[in-house]
Structure formats: structure tokens, C-alpha cells
Amino acid sequence: MLNDSDRFSDVDIIHRVINGDVNAFEFLLKKYREHVLRIVSRHIPYQETEEIAEDVFVRAYQSLPTFKQKSGFKQWLSGIAVRTCHDFWRKQYRSRELPMSSLSEKHQDWLEHTISDQSSDSFNEHSSQKEARELLDWALERLSAEERMVIELVYLEGLSVKEAGGLLGWSTANVKVRSFRSRKKLEKILKKSMEKKGEEA
């Protein structure tokens, strides 16, 4: 049996919401809930996901009158989700307390092991994904909010420069420059942590 969100197109529902039917927004919320949660989960710490996803839908609701049908609602909503995550990191970094913790020995070991001469499967064989994720979070913490978002979208998610630009609301040239610089900075951070370990040993 078809429900309302199947029978009506996104545009029909958006028109209803704009014309004052606030409850119609629930169809959009239900339809795109998983999509938004998937985006937010990738960029935001687990415990903050619910709140940020909530903010995404509230922002989407408030911005509905500005929605242009050019790109489709899903793409438009994805942009709002990515920019909300970006705003979250901007706020977080502003209130960040220094100094930040240094990389633990087990993470340094993981890094050394991964970039050592062993087979490419070494990661799966010898290291836990938990350590890798913690190392990644540690390194991303040392970047700015902009650098973090661009690294995640271009370098880790494999989006094209154009796609990342569309989501962040940046020009293609801006994404290119920032992704290059961010990648260099990330490389430098990881390299430095390796050197530190070498000095200690």
C-alpha cells in the first residue's frame, strides 16, 4: 500500500509545507531520515549525531522557501547536512582547549605498521579499525573545520571536487586549493608523529 510520501512528489510536499501545512514536513523527515543520519554519522562524533541531524531538518524546514528545483531535494538536503556538520566543527574548534593530547604509543605503532614494507593486507591482519579511527580523529582534530570537511569529502569519501564544492557551497577552485593544502597538512601531522616516536626510541 502506498503511503502519502510515495503518492506525492517531494515538490508537492514542499509546496504544501510552504503553504502552511507544517505536518506535511513529516513525510520528508521520514523519507530522508536515514540519508541525513548516514551523512551526519560520518562527520560527527556518535553521541552528537541525533542533535545535529535534528538541526539539519530544522534548518531545511526554515530554508524551504529558498529551495530551487534545479538539483532535487535530496541533493539540496545533503548540502544542508554537510554545512551543518561544518558549523558544528567550527563551533567545536572555537571552544577547543589546548594543549591537545599527543598520539598514544599503540596508535603510533599502528601508523608505523601500516606504512611499513609489509603487504597491503597488513592493516586487516594486524591492526584494529578502532585504532585507525582513533588515529584519524586525532589527526583531523589538528586541522581547521574547513580542512577537516574537505579532507573527509574529497580524500576519505572520494567525492569529486565539483561534488564536494556543491555540498559545501564553495567554488571548485576553492575546494581544489583547500583539499591540496589539507592533505599536505595531514601528511605533515602524521609524519611528525612518526618522527617523534623515532626520536623517543
Partner: protein, 107 residues
Amino acid sequence: MKPFKENDEKLKKALMVAYHAKEKAEVGEGWQMKVMNRIRNLGPLPEQTDYFTLFGQAVWRFAPAACVLIVALTLFLVKLDFIPEYELLNSLMSNPAEFTLEQLFPV
């Protein structure tokens, strides 16, 4: 150990795997109700008055009439054989009211 750059792809792959393995948050019906309550509290969306768009619409509504008027006036003037400079000079030269140039343009 190989130089850092040579192992970049290897590290990238490992970090990508870790990045994508991150647990996806699950939310219940309670969350959806909470979001809808917040949205209901915001109330219906205000009708947007986009003055620029309204101005544009008003201007374009009169565009065909303005075009017709311009064409009609042009045809009328062509038919009259009206040349502004010639008409002005003619009026000065013929001087029907016996005015002199000095009287017309006092120094």
C-alpha cells in the same frame, strides 16, 4: 621503511576503511516526534516577500506594451519626417515671430 610519500596510498586506503567503518547512529520514533515538535513550535513558514522578484515581474508585464508603443511612435515620427535638429534650425531660421537670435539666447 619506505619514504612516507610512497606509502601514502596504503595509508589512505587504511584510513578510508576506518572512516567508512564508523558506526551509523540509529534513531527511534521518539527522535522523529522531537524534531516535528520543534518544527511545529516554529509555526508555518512566513510568506516570503521578494521585492526584487516582484519588481522584475511588474517590469516584464509591461514590456510587450512598451515595445508596441516604441514601434508605433517610431513609425509615427518617420511618417511625419521629423528630424529634431532640422526642426529646431527651421524654427530659428524662419523666425516667424520676428525674434532675433539675440533675443532668443540673451547673452
